[in-house]
Amino acid sequence: MKTPAHILDFKAHFPLLINKPDLVYFDNAATTQKPQVMLDAIQHFYQYDYATVHRSTHTLSSDVTHQYEESRKNVAQYIGCDQPSSLIWTKGTTESINLVATILQDSTISSSSNIVISDLEHHANLVPWQQLCQKLNIELRVANTQQFQHKIDAFIEAVDQDTYIVACSHVSNALGITQPIKDVIKLAKKYNALSLIDGAQAVCHLNVDVNALDCDFYVFSAHKMYGPTGLGCLYIKPEQQSRFPPYQFGGEMVKTVNYNNTVFNDLPHKYEAGTPNIEAVIAFGAVIQFLQQQNLTLLQQYESELTRYLYQALKQRSFISLYSPIDSQNIISFTLADWHPHDVSELLNNMNIAVRVGTHCAQPVMQQLQLTNGTIRLSLCAYNTYEDAQLFLRAIDSLEDFI
């Protein structure tokens, strides 16, 4: 198999991969590399445009405010949202989920309510809900997908008229399983429950349309889709926007303040107290523009082909146990018979191959699979080549020479 020319062209936009030609980077689910356009945008911002946003009236500030809000508009459009004010900037997926869990806590949840999550969640979409349930003394229900076979059935069993919110990942970070979120959202709606979708592992590889999905909240991070670290997004459906109290208090999230009272600002500002991560927002805007110039359908097709290729190759090796499904979304989680995952990653690291090993911030998922030491996780994206895949397979086959 040869890597198509358009993929090599795409890869050429990523300076780290050019500067480290021997590196095989298969840890994209943790974070992706960054394109040159992002670095240029950051440099240009500080060299020519730097000022604060929204607060000041000088030209520099109004220009950067314009850029900042253009970014919001572009990102919103990228996920199918035509109302930019529905998109709130956060620090990342984790903060987005914590924000929602916090504002729900202050709203009225009755003591007979329950919260439903799936049994494939990252700790970030589990612990905030678990803690909220403990605080309010309500039930946390884990939709038991029975070793992930009967996906929607598990939710049908868990969700009922007392369900307040269903929180579910779009794609599981540990195994790459795509969850039936359309049906999950529909089910939540049927019972008047809210729905939150953790899209951290989806936005980089799938077309997301929050309008069509009709979820109440959709959350993701910029850094897992070629964008900067320290920036996340929280989409809140328009109908839900005035329903919940603020998250943090401070500058810019208010309309009027006196010593007795404060009138809070509208969305998105209501949930963006304090000076935001302007640099990251500008940088992310540049990344989204860059992505819009790519043929995303071709990139996504290629990612799937490369994932299938590696999956089949690993499947042929009797010493490998696969834990991802065949239609896994860019992630292959596996173990090697009689090998500690950390030993595998240490040797691979010496061969310039970056993978993630362990429990992938999803300990309950690994507990269900009875994998105390977790798995080795390959996570691919569109700049990975067939040569990377072949180097990886050769490396895996060479491991037995070490013992």
Binding site: W339, H340, H342, D343, E346, L347, N349, N350, G358, N373, D401, F402, I403
Partner: protein, 141 residues
Amino acid sequence: MTDNHLISEIQSTDNIIEHFNQFRQWEDRYRFIMKIGKNLQAMPVNTQNESNEVSGCESKVWLTHTKHDNQLTFFATSDSRIVKGLLWIILTPINHMDNAEIAQFDFDTYFEQLNLIKHLSPSRGAGLLAITQKIKQICQQ
């Protein structure tokens, strides 16, 4: 190199350092580590338990000791081959020392001479430190 005759000769820190430094390639260093771990002395019966687990290592490590005529002997194992090898590198020389010598032993210099830490991941390095600290603690008891 895992030949029993040779192994029995590699026991002092100087021997180990000398042996280790003959490796020019990382592959040889790791092959040695992963094979030599098989020569770790077996843990005494029923000692591979939670109370003997060393925390701070990314793979599981169990460490225990016996005391005969006031002389300490250390036993350790791990579920990782690499860590087992590292444990052999730590325990082999100290199990030929008296308690005072172990208490004085400078692990940092030893690891530096082995040129070891820079080849290990930071978390492995931290794990090694946790093990040597536990050994020192036991010596001070």
